[in-house]
Amino acid sequence: MLGSADFDEQDVVVADFEAGVGTLTRLGEEHVDTVVIVAEATPKSLEVGARAAFLADQKAVGRIVVVANRIRGPEDLERVRAAFPPGTEVVGVPHDPKIVEADRKGVAPIDLDPDAPAVKALIALAATLLPHSN
């Protein structure tokens, strides 16, 4: 789907994919530069994340980053790390009441509070995703 597309005028395409089986399969067929896998420290979330990582790995995608989301403590981060192959890049994003508030209100988290811990962590991650920064 994305692989054949010609996005001349855009510097970056950020594609938000649902994590159904169909998508995970298609992920193995896509051409993407970076896959960001978002997972919480729960069995179901990690199951989906691990499968996505497996498929992305098979396709030799440029870079795979796992966002360990809604982390409440070191055990959560460890649980997420343990679900992926050793050496996988894992970025922790803390559980954040400001994200909860943004969700409730239906506003962009980055507008509600750009200095909230979770938002700052994601902004920092974005900076590392810049096309020329590797």
Binding site: V14, D16, V38, N69, L122
Partner: protein, 103 residues
């Protein structure tokens, strides 16, 4: 650069996509945010609001039900059926919400 954000529903991938898209756009890049979820909500996290998000989804539905014989090209999808969000992020809804595959 093409970036795919994936995750189990409810894990936070849409929030993650939105902050990444907005941040890169604030940094001066031309960013397209594609909502490939069959239940599209990215517009809300990007900051366009729920009404505009739903309007884009309805447009996408109408597109498929309309006169077009072929699937829209990427350029058409993005330029005619997309919407400008904050920081100039261009949002487009890719998937139909009632695609009947098992998943």
């Amino acid at each position: 650069m093409k970036l795919a954000v994936v995750g189990k529903g409810g894990s936070g991938k849409t929030t993650t996509s939105s902050v990444i898209a907005r941040t890169l756009a604030k940094g001066g890049l031309a960013v397209v945010a594609l909502d490939c979820d069959s239940n599209p909500n990215l517009g809300i996290s990007l900051g366009v609001g729920d009404e505009e998000t739903e309007r884009l989804v309805s447009m996408r539905q109408a597109l498929d039900e309309g006169e077009e014989a072929h699937a829209p090209t990427w350029d058409t999808l993005i330029s005619r059926y997309g919407s400008d969000g904050p920081d100039g992020v261009r949002l487009a809804v890719v998937s139909r919400i009632d695609n009947p595959e098992p998943g």
